[in-house]
Symmetry: none
Subunit: 192 residues, 4 copies
DNA sequence: TATGAATGAGTATTCATTCAT
DNA sequence: TATGAATGAATACTCATTCAT
């Protein structure tokens, strides 16, 4: 088997965990090494620098994420179900990977141009996913003829906040909302 | 007269700028001192540590921000206009202070419990602002009887994404949306 | 008193000792700091990098050295005495500073362009010192009309080897030569 | 056939080149391996350590060098021609191997006792070569009855400086000296 | 025997914090 | 009270050496 590729993957998964927990600056290369069960020097056999590990981790993570979401969405026919599946996929990612997504977007900016570009491209692919669903819904005359891009912005932002609330600020005494509750807001609007 | 209070304020404003530009870890205490036109040691006459400066800056920034939004909103009578004013206030903040808000939320986590609590409290106050508008709208029978908290989550998230798109990923060839366009999505929903 | 200038000097003197003992690569910045009785960080308040410390030490050492030699030579009237004084000055330097001169010339090459240029310039000033003596001797009709530059090369090289032998490879059973013995070789030649 | 001996030689030749270019500390074992077209691990099949490679390279280089000089000198009958041949041999070595000789002498000190001893022994053999020529010249009544050892020091040092000037600090506008010019200084002296 | 992937000891450098002035 | 010179803890990265294949 391709042992080199495997070890590279191990390091990226470890980086994913450590960067996700500590952010770029607080994370120590030696911690990533420990987590990956390799020596500190080994990291540098596979990556040029801490920055480069971050960069490749972002690429790797984004790819994993987009694959997952895309798959879930394409399994569905109904556009409303597709939107629900998107929320579900995001939820799973957030549970699994903590706030890595935030770190992608937040710290990428300061780390270097290339990371920034990767992240922007990923963001656009995510927006496109929703745009496509909306366009399909418009064509199928399920949705009004609204601007698909504008909606995707609102929706993605809304979903993020909704999930952050549920997952990260969870309090036992808080009312729990279903995905339907949430989606209905976007479907029906609030104006009487 | 209150020279001490004034200098503290100067430092906080400088911290706001530097942390906003560089994030917590990349920001240097000496840069904040330079920006505030004080000596490096002076910072430590007013604050216990870099973390404490960050903490106090977050409190200060949030207070400023909430004051501004609250004021704008209470100037209006019409609930829909109030929502627009919220978007406007957020937009101004984002233009003026860059992504400081993200830094609040993102890095606060790693910096310490107290900051985290401050940020959560602020987030809740922001959500309450919207909640109150929605409840008023429901009472006035302008809005449906939806869950005000759930809406505030969706709305705040959506606004954030909308503004990030406009301000940070602005591209000359991109379609420009009005705040009305955006608000209408939430008012009318997308389902036919 | 100019404390800053003083401390800079202390560091350079420490660097002189440590680089002289260990060479550029083996020398540790922390050892220079210890030798200078300052903290490691202090070095970086006065110099940009280890390279820069080396560079400045070379400048400093060369200046000291040339001052000394020049002074000794100008005290004398007789050209042959001047040559002897040069040998004496070199000898004192070699005893006092070990093989720092070799390190100047040897390692300067690898460390950076600027150091290299400083060292070359110093070498030329040293050659000029001898050249001037020779030219004076020719004018005074004490010396033959030989090429002064060529002689200075031969003389400086010869002196170096002579002193290295005496100082560094000293063995108790070895015949000891006087400076006169040595100088006479150059004065009279070896051909019958 | 003697493949082992051959590969050892290849490594030493590569070491000669790399150490000559970079000096002991800057030189990387991996670069020597690459230059010798062997794996990094292979170096350690033939030598105990980087230091040992250096040590053996010094021995090897010195042996090559002394063989060459000795041969050239013994081809000649005339003592003055022998001195010229020595200069020529040194010149060729300096052109071919850069400043490896300096590195021998300079860095040997820091690397270990054994290398130091090898280098000293080699230096003495070199001095002996010249000494023997001088003694021969004295016997043949071509040279004055000077101290042969003292002369060899002066001569070897002078030659080194002369060649360094010609080869390493060569400048197109500089006067070019012949070996005769140089030798004549030593033969005739400078005193009128 | 030959290899190069893996390792971790070792070191330059940064920067929050202290404290003498 | 205000300062900035001095400090050393902390950490990315290099490279000689080992060892499984």
């Amino acid at each position: 088997m391709n042992n080199r590729e495997e070890k590279r993957r191990d390091i990226l998964i470890a980086a994913f965990k450590i960067f996700g927990r500590d952010g770029f600056y607080k994370a120590k290369v030696s911690d990533i090494a420990k987590e990956a069960n390799v020596g500190k020097g080994t990291i540098y056999e596979y990556f040029e620098s801490k920055e480069n590990v971050f960069e490749e981790m972002v690429k790797f993570g984004i790819e994993q994420y987009l694959k997952k979401v895309t798959l879930l969405i394409y399994e569905e026919d109904d556009v409303i179900e597709k939107l629900k599946k998107y929320v579900l996929a995001e939820k799973e990612m957030m549970i699994e990977y903590g706030n890595i997504a935030n770190i992608f977007f937040q710290e990428a900016d300061k780390i270097g141009k290339e990371v920034r570009e990767i992240v922007i491209k990923a963001r656009n692919r995510k927006l496109s996913l929703i745009e496509d669903i909306v366009k399909e819904g418009i064509k199928k005359e399920i949705f009004k003829n609204i601007d698909a891009y504008l909606f995707s912005l609102a929706f993605i932002g809304g979903v993020h906040q909704f999930l952050v609330d549920e997952i990260r600020f969870f309090a036992s005494n808080k009312k729990v909302y279903t995905i339907e509750d949430f989606i209905n807001l976007f479907l029906n609007g609030i104006k009487k």
